[in-house]
Amino acid sequence: MRLTVHDLARAGTLDAPDADGAAGGSACGDQVRIQLRFAPDASFESVRFGVLGCTAASAAAAWLAERCEGATLLEAARLSLDACVAAREIPAERHACAAVALDALAAALADALVAMPVVPRGARIAVAMSGGVDSAVALHRVLARGDDAVGITLRLWIDPDAPDAARACCSPEAVRRARATCHALGVPHLTLDARDGFRETVVQPFLDDYQAGRTPNPCTTCNGDFRIALLAQTADRLGAARLATGHYARLVRHDDGALVARGADHAKDQSAMLARVPPALLGRLEFPLADAHKHDVRDEAASAGLAAATAAESQDVCFLGGGDLRGFLDRHGVDLRPGEIRGGDDELLGHHEGAVAFTVGQRRGLGVAAPEPLYVRSVDAAAGIVRITPIAGLARREVELVDARLHRPVSHVRARLRIHMADVGATVEATPDGLRLELDEPVFAVAPGQVAVLYDEDGAVVGSGTISR
């Protein structure tokens, strides 16, 4: 490992840094800080590093500081762990220590992004990188076209108490994998700490919905109200007119704007997750996996040698971190409301440990013995009462939507009333509060809080709304 006396010239802090990033302090106790100051030409004229750590962390911090001096933000965002450990002869068992320094630089560059003058929009494309295989292949496809790409990872959530924190999509490992994937392809990578906004915009409403007895779709909320907009904003700062993500969804472009549509892989289709993305943003989006099937994506990642090829599949709700819903809600202050299970005639059938974790249509976990299968018909979170019914009692022909949007004037749609459910034909009618759907056939599990996604006959999302009743 090479750490030199000369390196100490950049040790310390800057008087008035434009950007400041720190990382570390956990398992091994190594801590690294990197500070940056811009020159008028938007390169870094001064760089300082701080470190209290082993030789590997110190050497990596010193190397990054040395290489950042005179570099632009995007040049600095290309500095890779591989190059760092090679330059400083850091052995494999100490790469984790060096990675702490890369984390600190990533934090400093995210800070610098805010301080940097906005780059005029050009041909550059920003690619949202989660650390998973889908976004890695999306990036690979964008590069294969010869585009000038920059990778962006949003750190949305860290829950060290989750049963399987590493499986959550924003674990430090996932962020590092996203970075490594970009760097291996020569692409600059930026990591934004979006945890506060995510908590406020996605997690808190998720908790509030459950507390109120509703069953929310946090992924739809995240993409629609938070993530895509933040990525687009970041792309703007970097001069990237376009933004690509690894979703399995298509875009159909009409004269009156673009619409999200089902991806070619119907089993993986993620169009519903994107149903609430504002139409104004859709025009800038690209989905390189629109025509892909999951197995092709895995093969492509493996043959291209992408770091994310073997990453564990992230979950529907990334921030649950492999844990059960009830445990998550409990850990985050939701009053679970234990109480009674009652039948159709209000007869007491049993007790449960928390009304809020039940979903309308749910069959498992009721703990009630009966000759025919029983399902949750309604959740009264305030009273702690879960009402159950045989399947016939669930049938619904009418659904009310609030917070509804229609992107096209339509009278009949294919409605998907929950994520993993076949869609159903429905006639759409406006109401004072939103929309009413008259279903062509009865549907058995309509859960308040879920987003109803409305497709036209070609699979394009023409509207959506939150099921109120």
Partner: protein, 379 residues
């Protein structure tokens, strides 16, 4: 120009050891177990080496077992004593991993005697812990970290009184102290290594009356009383013997090294008044100095000193991502942050009179700069 202040890690081969080894690497190549002329000339070399080592250690020829180094000798002493039975072992937190690891792996019960703040084992507590029937008491003669010399005579006496065999790891001590095994009572074994005293690497010995009651750990031929099967390396044994004899005959090195070390410590204390040295200032190996420096990590300071031309060692090992100070420093009551700032400088034959000065001045220049880096993370 390099300045080498890591004698406790290893030392280069001296001329005497090289000249003693060389004939056995080529012309006197025979297998000592063979009765023919080639074998006999090799056997004669091995016998001579054994006699030299026995004399230097104050023990009988029949009580010297050559091994492939200090760690092997330590393992043999512990594993050969337990002989596959999971008996009780009493030891200290100061032990080298060769002893500590073997004891953890093989003992049925392991009791560790506490260590005082000066790096010396609490003998009263050790005396309380050692019970008749214990399979082994294992104590390092002098700490590889602080150089603190343990009261081995008292320990040998208390073990002998209880009939408990004693193993002393003298890998560091042998380079500096006269080891008169005949003056210590009881069923005793002592491990030494050649390369700490300018002998060859891969050469060591387990010596003392206690070797004859050890069970074999390795299987093979009957070499070295069956305790170290395999064709003997006469060259390694001869190198060890020559280096040890040379060291025993050198009456000036200890004084010279201690003067150098003390001068180094004085200068460093002047430059960095908040610095501390670990281990007893008197009962300490002459070349050893363990500095505890706040606000830095010892291994990063080592790397910088290396760049500046000085070879020294970090006092706390950092294994992969988990940086943990040594058990020895923890046992001395030294906190984690301070232990991670430990720097071990060990002086010896390779040092000139100005080296202590030079090293002290390099450290006192680098530490403030490294502290600036540490302060920048708000530590």
């Amino acid at each position: 120009v390099r300045v080498y202040c890591d004698h406790a890690a290893t030392t280069p081969l001296c001329d005497e050891a090289w000249h003693a080894m060389e004939p056995f690497l080529r012309e006197r190549f025979g297998n000592p177990s063979e009765p023919h002329a080639e074998g006999r000339t090799a056997r004669a070399g091995l016998d001579a080496a054994r006699a030299r080592v026995a004399e230097a250690l104050g023990t009988g020829d029949e009580y010297v077992v050559f091994t492939g180094g200090g760690s092997e000798a330590d393992n043999l002493a512990v594993l050969g004593r337990l002989a596959g039975e999971r008996g009780r072992v009493v030891s200290t937190a100061l032990e080298h991993p060769a002893v500590a690891g073997a004891a953890r792996a093989a003992a049925g019960e392991l009791a560790l005697a506490p260590v005082r703040a000066d790096g010396i084992v609490d003998v009263d507590e050790l005396e309380r812990l050692v019970q008749p029937g214990d399979r082994l008491c294992a104590v390092i003669w002098a700490s590889n970290l602080t150089g603190a010399i343990q009261p081995v005579r008292e320990i040998a006496e208390l073990c002998a009184e209880r009939g408990v065999p004693l193993h002393l790891d003298a890998v560091q001590a042998a380079a500096w102290l006269p080891l008169r095994l005949d003056e210590l009572p009881g069923e005793l074994t002592v491990a030494i290594a050649a390369h700490k005293l300018h002998g060859p690497k891969g050469a060591g010995a387990l010596a003392g009356r206690g070797v004859r009651s050890l069970a074999r750990v390795l299987h093979g031929g009957g070499q070295e009383h069956g305790l170290r099967p395999g064709t003997e390396s006469v060259a390694q044994a001869s190198g060890l013997a020559a280096a040890l004899a040379r060291r025993v005959a050198d009456s000036e090195l200890a004084g010279r090294s201690a003067a150098l070390r003390d001068d180094f410590e004085r200068r460093l204390e002047d430059a960095l008044p908040d610095l501390q040295f670990a281990g007893d200032r008197i009962a300490r190996l002459p070349g050893h100095s363990l500095a505890l420096i706040d606000g830095i990590r010892g291994d990063a300071l080592c790397a910088l000193l290396d760049d500046a031309g000085f070879a020294v060692a970090a006092g706390a090992a950092c294994h992969s991502a988990e940086q943990e100070p040594s058990a020895a420093l923890s046992a001395m009551g030294i906190g984690r942050a301070r232990a991670l700032g430990a720097l071990r400088c060990t002086f010896g034959e390779l040092n000139g009179a100005a080296d202590g000065d030079g090293l002290a001045s390099a450290i006192s220049t680098l530490v403030p700069a490294l502290r600036t880096a540490g302060a920048a993370v708000g530590a």
